[in-house]
Symmetry: C2
Subunit: 209 residues, 2 copies
């Protein structure tokens, strides 16, 4: 599958490498440094390449890993996303990056869907980038990635990408659930950055029936 990544920070590069390793064709975009995009593409292999947000947005799946404050710029460069499958990894943080900028009665995921008309799936936003870079395969057990969205096809694609990246997908319902997944990202961040190690994930455990 061709996957366009918009945002080449720690989350974008971590996901890109995991998905390239799983055999997907990754297009990196949206960095001030073209050199950085080229380096990421070279490190990822499997046909990965550096390009523009518009080119990334032409892929079968778009993964959005920008900082929320860059949303306007990124959307302008990506062009029309209506009907696209967009995996929204962002958390709607303030400029100072220490609080959610919106929430409770809406969410970043829902706002993104409203603004673009894209088939948005919220996913991967609850995982520290350090875990992506270290690789989930180094964990003693598989961990979960919660996702939610309103479009079944887009959710099915995202579910497969979550598996391909080495995680267990956990469907938490409609995109409305981004109201819970975005605060959860801050909870995980607290555990990751105030705890013994940021290379941490979560899983759900049930009593066997």
């Amino acid at each position: 599958m061709r996957i366009g990544i918009i945002g080449a920070g720690r989350m974008g590069s971590g996901l890109g490498k995991l998905l390239a390793r799983a055999g997907h064709e990754v297009v990196y975009s949206f960095s001030r440094s073209r050199e950085k995009l080229e380096r990421l593409a070279a490190e990822s292999g499997h046909g990965a390449r550096a390009s523009s947000p518009a080119d990334a947005a032409a892929a079968e799946v778009v993964i959005l890993t920008i900082h929320w404050q860059e949303l306007e710029t990124a959307l302008a460069q990506a062009g029309n996303l209506a009907g696209k499958v967009v995996v929204d990894v962002t958390n709607p943080m303030t400029e100072s990056d220490d609080e959610l900028a919106i929430g409770f009665s809406t969410s970043g995921g829902e706002e993104l869907a409203r603004r673009t008309g894209a088939r948005v799936v919220k996913a991967f936003n609850t995982i520290p980038s350090e875990l992506l870079h270290a690789g989930p395969a180094r964990l003693p057990e598989r961990v979960a990635v919660c996702f939610c969205g309103d479009d079944d096809e887009a959710k099915g694609i995202t579910e497969q990408l979550i598996r391909d990246a080495g995680f267990d997908p956990v469907d938490v319902g409609p995109l409305h659930g981004a109201r819970y997944l975005e605060p959860m990202a801050l909870l995980v961040a607290q555990i990751a950055y105030e705890g013994p190690t940021p290379e941490v994930g979560y899983r759900f455990v049930a009593i066997p029936r």
Copy 2:
């Protein structure tokens, strides 16, 4: 330790039984049915008894397990809680019980602390009552209970109660974190009630260093 439970629904009864089993002296209160409180006390053993919210509030630790819409009534009956250690298990749900009534720029835990002057610790609100009743010992592995608060002594006491109830305590910082733990409760509810079983918990898994 003497533990006063205000709210004798599924959460209150589940926690009460686990803590009584661990050797704590539990005081059940705040039910329309005195008979129900008496029955819970009898089922719990270890000196558990039925009483009034005011009596429960006189215990060393108060555990608040009411529905949020009953807060006014419960606080009026409990009396002055200033300086008390209060473990806040509530989620600030609307009357229709399907959304948070407050959040984002505050939380139920913070509002409770502001209103009462109590040393509030948010805890156990992210655990389905079904898991408490089934007993976490039946899980294939120990799961976590996230907690947060501003008072170190109150947090230390709560941490021990979490262990006594059979869970691994995970400290997620100041009471401000209730803004993340309350939405997380709705996430867990989604997984518990839309998934294969409500007898479910969560844990964090790190790459070994």
